[in-house]
Symmetry: C2
Subunit: 84 residues, 2 copies
């Protein structure tokens, strides 16, 4: 079993209106120090071992569903979990 | 200047309907190996140095706005950025 942590972020060149809204809210709350906010997604998946290579599976899942490769970048971390 | 990476996740005991929907979609796409999906948020903030302690600022921001402490946990990583 693998535990996979996937991070999906908007590409640098893409505007982030949600991040800007959060920045404005933080300013209104008195956190004037905040210069920039970018919002992404974080996903944790549990994947069973199979014949296929785990990196291949994760990349395919990211490109097909979890991220939009046109406007988003993704990276992931793999961790092997010992099942009892 | 600090670069702060904030990870917000649903607490273990809280149901994650969005994660379940993604899991079903992954199964429909043929990724039967996927056992569980939990979805969270990932945020990158740029924060200017000020008189206040940076850990204090980040914790306060998370508890007031970025996370809902009733159903979510958060963790963060700090990185000092040298401005040119």
């Amino acid at each position: 079993m693998y535990k996979v942590k996937v991070y999906v972020t908007l590409r640098e060149s893409v505007l982030d209106p949600q991040g800007n809204a959060v920045k404005s809210s933080l300013h209104s709350l008195g956190f004037e120090e905040v210069q920039d906010v970018r919002i992404g997604k974080y996903m944790e998946l549990l994947i069973e071992k199979s014949d296929r290579n785990i990196d291949e599976i994760v990349k395919e899942m990211c490109e097909k569903l979890l991220a939009n490769p046109v406007i988003e970048d993704y990276r992931y971390e793999l961790e092997e979990v010992v099942t009892k």
